[in-house]
């Protein structure tokens, strides 16, 4: 029974809970049991909030038993929350020693929306420290392992959330995507991950990595589940000045429409600069197969060019560290978090704490950013990077004249072995080549599983990109492709995930 519940999609589970076939507490307990069984190996969670989860599920059950309509389409469904969003009832560490044990006095807007929707928050998931990384190896609390192969990374920074889905520890998760931190782990774990339009989901309570790039989004095992979660967390927030004051795109309707399998009239643009060289063979093969599938669904596949995407990575690694160097200045031991009482002055305590509290990748980026913003260098680095950003936005605008969505492989390779790239930052950075342009432009994108690579049997991802607030067509294409792929495979993709083996 328990095992069955963890294999359901969020939509299916919600149906059973709302029809009272299953209680929310049973659903929560099944997933908590699953976490107990496998998370020792996977290490998707940094904190499991058993009591809080069961208490929340109990409230949902009481309300449903009293005949009240469900608070949302996902009321009672369990969820894994990335440890970058603040929670009053669980610690928020951002994968860093510097916030070890920090219990925020306030809930992030996303957290509040999840609570209001009756979603059961199971716990907080592992991540690269301050969301900087592509493998979750930079977590101060040890890496998360990929449920497909425990010797491999689950992607990052949101490896914990993606692995929790792939290991059936939760049917839903929240990630945050600064340069691909939702989409790349989704590709690596065979799950669905969506980076909404910048400003589409509130950043209030999202511990900042890079303010102008960060965006929280839904993670799930199916496109419809992601859409359902998207509508829960999306929408304008007066606490976030950069939040868009517009209705949430009707993504659930679009996903249901797409699942019917007709994409006629939809133009799909293949970004020339994001294909060809540099991809693992199976990644390329699966991408080509996906294109054929889209054509079969009636979509018109066209080639588009985005000539400035090649500068995206360089611009990203100037803008991101610059913002990081400023955003992370507040971790100074004066008000919260770690404090190393070494030295006689406040400055010495600050320095000792930051030395002990930040990991190598965070320090690397703080130093890069501090340098890039220094007077005399600002124009050459930060200023120039902002210009590239504008050019990339123009590339997108031009491409979206010719196509409704753009596609590319999500990541250049399948999941790599733990330890493979941890000492080679540049190789690590290349993971995000295809995902970064979307963050720079503030547009939307998702990753949908596109099968497993022939050579290693590991999942690959199809990235679907849409204009700002153009999520509806993106979900439609994603759901149509997913349905066609499942039909061809004879089962949902998640069913192909191997059992976790230690």
């Amino acid at each position: 029974m328990s095992d069955d519940l963890t294999r359901l999609s969020a939509a299916e589970l919600a149906g059973k809970i709302h029809s009272r076939e299953v209680s929310a507490v049973e659903a929560a307990q099944a997933h908590l049991d699953r976490i107990t069984a496998v998370d020792g190996d996977v290490h998707a969670f940094l904190h499991v909030g058993t009591e809080a989860a069961l208490a929340s599920a109990t409230l949902v059950d009481e309300s449903l038993d009293a005949g009240t309509a469900p608070a949302s389409a996902l009321a009672g469904v369990p969820l894994a929350l990335k440890d970058v969003l603040t929670t009053t009832d669980m610690p928020t560490t951002v994968g860093s020693r510097i916030l070890e044990g920090w219990r925020p006095p306030y809930d992030a807007t996303v957290t509040s929306k999840l609570r209001a929707a009756g979603i059961t928050i199971l716990g907080k998931t592992n991540m690269d420290e301050f969301a900087m990384g592509s493998s979750t190896e930079y977590s101060a609390y040890g890496p998360t392992r990929n449920p497909w192969d425990l010797g491999r990374i689950p992607g990052g920074s949101g490896g914990g959330s993606a692995a929790a889905l792939a290991a059936f520890e939760a049917p839903l998760a929240i990630g945050t995507d600064t340069g691909g931190s939702i989409r790349q782990p989704a590709a690596m774990t065979g799950t669905v991950g969506v980076k909404p339009t910048y400003g589409g989901v509130s950043r209030y309570g999202l511990v900042a990595c890079a303010s102008s790039l960060d965006q929280a989004g839904p993670c799930a095992r199916t496109v419809l589940d992601a859409a359902l979660l998207h509508e829960v967390i999306g929408g304008h927030d007066p606490m976030d000045s950069t939040s868009i004051d517009a209705p949430v795109p009707a993504v659930v309707e679009a996903a249901r429409l797409g699942a019917k399998g007709d994409l006629s009239g939809v133009r799909v643009g293949v970004v020339r600069e994001l294909t060809g060289e540099g991809y693992q063979a199976g990644v390329g093969e699966n991408f080509d197969a996906a294109l054929r599938e889209l054509e079969k669904l009636g979509a018109e596949v066209v080639e588009v060019s985005a000539p400035h995407f090649q500068y995206g990575l360089a611009a990203y690694y100037l803008i991101l560290p610059s913002e990081v160097s400023s955003n992370l200045a507040r971790f100074d031991a004066m008000r919260y978090g770690l404090r190393i009482d070494k030295g006689a002055s406040a400055e010495e305590v600050m320095a000792a704490t930051r030395e002990a509290g930040f990991g190598p990748e965070v320090k690397r980026r703080i130093i890069l950013g501090t340098y890039a913003l220094s007077s005399g260098y600002y124009d050459a680095y930060y200023g120039q990077a902002q210009k590239v950003r504008t050019l990339i936005s123009r590339d997108f605008a031009a491409a979206f004249e010719q196509a409704d969505v753009l596609v590319s492989p999500t990541a250049p390779t399948t999941a790599f072995p733990i330890g493979d790239k941890v000492d080679d930052p540049l190789a690590m950075y290349l993971n995000d080549l295809a995902t970064i342009p979307t963050n720079l432009a503030g547009t939307a994108a998702m990753s949908v599983p596109s099968g497993v690579a022939a050579e290693d049997g590991l999942p690959t991802g199809l990235q679907i990109m849409a204009p700002a607030l153009g999520e509806a067509v993106m979900y439609r294409v994603g759901a149509a492709y997913e349905a066609a792929r499942d039909a061809a495979d004879g089962s949902p993709f998640a069913a192909r995930t191997p059992e976790v083996k230690a």
Partner: protein, 500 residues
């Protein structure tokens, strides 16, 4: 550190041209902070007016206070500035414990108001136009209290206490362009400018502008160039100048100090100095080894401020009568000469007189009370005129009692004294001190007869028609009645009794 050599002020002025610059920070009296909903009231228990945003907690975000932007635009308009149609906030990055985010959110190179001016009237009526470079919005820091150690500064302190109530309170910084050609009047110009700015902002109702409470703070920039050379000298920036008088004294001191350095053939150090209230001197702050690199960049958590032309015009329509307009109107209404108006302004009595007039008193009476008797009282007590414990309404009542004949001027002063001593409202003081004018003719006639009898020679003169001689008898009667007689009536009675 050796004491600086100070050059006599007149000597400085003979040989050098001072160049002034003033940076004034004004704390806005908005109900809430610049980027969050916390209250801004002064004097609350430490760390009770804070939230995730103004404490810089991880994940918290700023939202611009619309009222603060309105206030900034109104200040800009009143200073004849252009209002920028688009501008971003920037982050000024530096580490200091009283700054929760370790960066200050400030409009750096995109200020909301630029290129204005303020005409400043000096004591003798000379008008100096001070050019305004810019007015920009920023947030205040928290307050540190460094305990232990000799200097009260963070270095050497045993421990420090931090209060973040002030962190995030909206500030407007108003920066002048360089003010040249003021010569020996530089200290006076500086003070007059800050005074005029204070009055202007007060009239807008956007700040308390209390220098003593820190809601208005002034940095004085000063450099000297050899007379007539036009070569710009190195400037010092003096902070902690917390009263109008200190503004004047800080300029004066820095001029003498700079001249001392230059006369010795040395270079003035570009540095921040702190004004010492007790000695009227300045003290060197920490000398920066390198120029501080604040690594400014546009604040990514905020969207640009883009006030529409319509909104700006709407705000222009809300500007009240500005101080100079009001002065012109009052001068006309009260029929004052330029000198009379200036005396009133210089005595800082204009608002008080106007309030007294509003409470029903004739302007002439109100003026003379505030400018003479009450100014003396303020001087004696060592307080500013507006800090005297008497309200314009109370004074208006005293004046009314004089007009109706219930008090004479001498008694009125005693009533005012009583009010100042905290004895209550004017009528209560009259009752308690028994200060009503003696209007019983019977008692007065007896006193008059007694005085005439005591000075028969004077009485004889009056009877002989020399009415002017009555003054001596009036004086005697007033003395006998302890001043409580109506002098006019006494004079009438004397003449009556003498049959003159």
């Amino acid at each position: 550190m050796t004491a600086p050599t100070l050059v006599d002020f007149d000597d400085v002025v003979d040989r050098y041209d001072p160049v002034l610059g003033l940076e004034v920070h004004v704390e806005l009296s908005t109900n809430t902070k610049m980027f969050c909903g916390c209250p801004t009231a002064f004097g609350a228990e430490p760390n009770t007016q804070v939230c995730p945003t103004c404490l810089g907690l991880p994940g918290a975000l700023p939202v611009v206070n619309r009222t603060a932007v309105e206030s900034a635009i109104r200040i800009g308009l009143a200073l004849n500035c252009d209002i920028a149609p688009w501008g971003r906030f920037a982050r000024k990055n530096y580490f200091y414990p009283d700054m929760p985010k370790n960066f200050q959110t400030s409009q750096y190179d995109e200020p909301i108001a630029v290129n204005g001016h303020l005409d400043v009237t000096l004591e003798d009526g000379t008008v100096v136009r001070v050019e305004i470079e810019r007015a920009h919005m920023e947030e205040d820091t928290g307050k540190s209290l460094h305990v232990g150690g000799a200097t009260g500064r963070i270095h050497g302190a045993e421990y420090s206490l931090l209060d973040y109530n002030r962190a995030g309170v909206p500030l407007i910084e108003i920066v002048t362009k360089m003010i040249p050609d003021t010569g020996g009047r530089a200290p006076e110009v500086a003070r007059a400018y800050v005074t005029a700015l204070r009055d202007l902002i007060r009239s807008l109702g956007v700040s308390d502008v209390r220098m003593d409470q820190g809601s208005m703070r002034c940095d004085v920039n000063l450099s000297l160039s050899p007379k007539g050379s036009g070569i710009l000298g190195t400037r010092s920036e003096t902070k902690n100048v917390n009263s109008l008088r200190s503004v004047e004294r800080a300029v004066r001191y820095e001029m003498s100090r700079h001249a001392g350095v230059l006369d010795a053939g040395e270079k003035v150090v570009q540095e921040t100095r702190h004004f010492q209230e007790d000695t009227a001197t300045t003290r060197s702050g920490r000398i920066k080894e390198t120029s501080e690199d604040y690594r400014y960049f546009p604040e990514p958590d905020l969207v640009p401020i883009a006030p529409s032309a319509e909104w700006v015009e709407e705000l222009r329509g809300t500007l009240p009568e500005l101080p100079w307009e009001r002065r012109a109107r009052i001068q006309q209404e009260w029929n004052l000469s330029d000198a009379e108006l200036r005396d009133l302004v210089n005595a800082d009595a204009l608002d008080l007189v106007a309030a007294t007039v509003d409470a029903g008193a004739p302007s002439g009476d109100a003026r003379s009370w505030w400018v003479s008797y009450l100014s003396q009282q303020a001087n004696t007590r060592g307080v500013t005129l507006d800090a005297l414990p008497i309200t314009p309404a109370q004074l208006a009542r005293v004046i009314e009692l004089v007009t109706t004949g219930e008090l004479n001027n001498k008694l009125a002063r005693q009533v005012v004294d009583g009010v100042l001593e905290g004895e209550g409202e004017p009528d209560e003081v009259v009752a308690k001190r028994g200060l009503a004018v003696v209007s019983d003719d019977g008692a007065l006639i007896a006193a008059v007869d007694e005085a005439l009898a005591a000075q028969p020679d004077v009485a004889e003169k009056i009877r002989g028609g020399k009415v002017a001689a009555a003054g001596a008898i009036v004086g005697a009667v007033m003395k006998a009645t302890k001043g409580q007689a109506d002098a006019k009536r006494v004079r009438e009675l004397i003449i009556e009794r003498c049959g003159a």
